[in-house]
């Protein structure tokens, strides 16, 4: 079982460059999420999706975009990278079954913007 897979694991960007962080899950979960994790700040929700074709903003969406064309994939796009976007990014998925909300996380993408 692969679970949630994120690529790349590490990336260094120059200011103003763009990139896409890839996320795919093989658990047939409807819900998918992108978080960023900064030291001492916990996990902040960037964007989320409740199913293919449906996305919405989280707490910190500025500078990011997402799309959800399939159940499996939920890429995060960074346009015009800024040093403030240096962070660790986690993708997660969940289902609404069984009266629980268990989030399954990928291993993360460590991004530095210099």
């Amino acid at each position: 079982n692969a679970g949630v897979t994120q690529t790349p694991k590490f990336r260094i960007l120059k200011i103003g460059q763009s990139m896409t962080l890839q996320c795919t899950q093989d658990m047939n979960h409807n819900y998918m999420y992108w978080y960023r994790q900064d030291p001492g700040m916990g996990l902040k929700l960037i964007y989320y999706s409740v199913g293919a074709g449906i996305t919405d903003k989280g707490e910190v969406p500025n500078g990011y975009n997402v799309s959800r064309s399939t159940t499996e994939d939920f890429p995060l796009r960074l346009e015009l990278a800024a040093p403030s976007q240096t962070s660790v990014y986690f993708c997660a998925s969940s289902s609404a079954s069984g009266g629980k909300n268990i989030q399954y996380f990928g291993a993360g993408t460590r991004l530095s913007v210099l």
Binding site: V4, Y31, Y33, G40, M41, G42, L43, L45, Y48, V50, D56, G58, F90, A92, S94, A96, G99, K100, N101, I102, Q103, F105, G106, A107, G108
Partner: protein, 113 residues
């Protein structure tokens, strides 16, 4: 209203001791309270969770205590081991709907031999 406050930020415990991490929430609509464990270089993973209709849940050395009236819950790690050294996040969510989760800021636990 959506905040979950977690303390302490860091914790050092001797091997065999009890580790205690506390969280408080504001939104009374929350109905699912998980704890996640994160090792360096890895994503968080569910450790244990509780619903507000029970006051305590125990799984092995890990126990959640839940106080609905005070809107507080805590994680107790009994007989703490060096392998428990990790960052712990409490969280709160509303099951169903958008399934969004609000996370605490995390506690870095170090268990020393």
């Amino acid at each position: 209203q959506q905040q979950v406050k977690q303390s302490p930020q860091s914790l050092i415990v001797q091997k065999g001791g009890i580790s205690i991490i506390n969280c408080a929430y504001e939104n009374t609509a929350f109905d699912y309270f998980p704890w996640y464990q994160q090792f360096p270089g890895k994503g968080p993973a569910l450790l244990i969770a509780i619903r507000p209709d029970v006051s305590e849940k125990k799984e092995g050395r890990f126990t959640i205590s839940f106080n609905k009236s005070a809107k507080q819950f805590s994680l107790h790690i009994m007989d703490s081991q060096p392998g428990d050294s990790a960052t712990y996040f409490c969280a709160a969510s509303i099951v169903g709907g958008y399934q969004k989760v609000t996370f605490g800021t995390g506690t870095k636990l170090q268990v020393i031999p």
